[in-house]
């Protein structure tokens, strides 16, 4: 599961959907792997506008990556700032979460991640 995925996932519990604390989910005991992928500037420029930057900053810090700037880079920034481009590429697309848990900040439910697959099936009492 690529780290970018975490920007689109939320707690599966219905009552959590309307709260702000259920996003982003918080990685716990995360085991990461790094896959070398050819850098694709156009893709990153087009992905940037759909990223929730505040959530990504949280995810980045919690996974032990360098703190991202408070404001997202603009498309022009990404064209010029090679270092920022490389950092985002490495975090969003090259890094995969293979093992660990994703924890909801609202209800505290922990979703297991095993062999790169997060399990969002709920125990029957939470459905």
């Amino acid at each position: 599961m690529k780290v970018l995925t975490l920007n689109f996932l939320t707690c599966a519990v219905k009552a959590c959907k309307t709260t702000n604390n259920s996003f982003p989910l918080h990685p716990k005991d995360a085991e990461l792997v790094h896959d070398e992928i050819e850098i694709n500037r156009d893709l990153l420029v087009n992905v940037l506008p759909r990223i929730d930057w505040t959530a990504l900053r949280t995810t980045s810090t919690e996974l032990g990556f360098p703190t991202l700037p408070e404001q997202p880079p603009t498309a022009e920034d990404l064209q010029q700032d090679e270092k920022m481009l490389k950092e985002l590429h490495a975090l969003l697309l090259e890094t995969q979460m293979m093992e660990g848990k994703l924890v909801c900040g609202h209800c505290g439910h922990e979703y297991a991640v095993r062999e790169g697959i997060a399990n969002f099936l709920l125990p029957s009492h939470l459905v």
Partner: protein, 266 residues
Amino acid sequence: MLPTPDTSHVPYQRVYEPAEDSFLLLDTLSSATETAYLARRFGSSIVAPLILEVGPGSGVVIAFLTANARTIFGTSDILTLGVDVNGFACAATEKTVSRAVVTENNSSSTKRQDEERETGTFLAAVQGDLTSPLRPGTIDMLVFNPPYVPTAELPAAAFAPSSSSTQTTTFRQDSHLLELSYAGGKDGMETTDRLIAALPIILSKRGCAYILLCAQNRPEEVKERVRRWSGGGVGEVWKAETVGTSGKQAGWEKLQIIRIWRETNV
């Protein structure tokens, strides 16, 4: 004809094997009318679309969309994702997509060097119930080949903790996983109805959904029902049309694919 992704590694005793319905989806999504529609909707966008397949099973459809992104969407800047209730299907999907992408990239590396990328970017296969793990309003295109066969009742829902991909399973557990992939309960629509009800929440403003139905699902009624949603938002019109069909049986189209989307007339 675009190549069909290889699924020879998929354990068919517990993951739905690509069949007529899967191939109808491939044919429809790569047809001249649908590629023109998708390219118009997403091809020149500066925001990469997020494509979700619900219940990818073997992964053949989402692998096809990812590996042939530029041909189908007019851009390779797409993100793809799968959610399946079956953990083995998630593992199978990841493998099918990565193999299809590698195959495509190897075959196009023999072409001209400066040729544009063909393949999109696959994010993950996630185990879950329909769209429940996803943030509202994030999905730009959703594809669903549902459990559409009418059955007396739905199989018991899958709950956590459920079979992980490393566990061994019994014959009964395997049968249950396969049943979840085809048994649709009343009119074959119990699961599909839940998915359709979630569309206004999960789809982005520019979102669309492709859903496969069989004749017993009463596709005409399904489309009518969606059209009646119109008026929910200001100037919002919901549309539903049949965009692919296969095999007539006793005068009825046995299988068909409907496209559901909203248009905002401001």
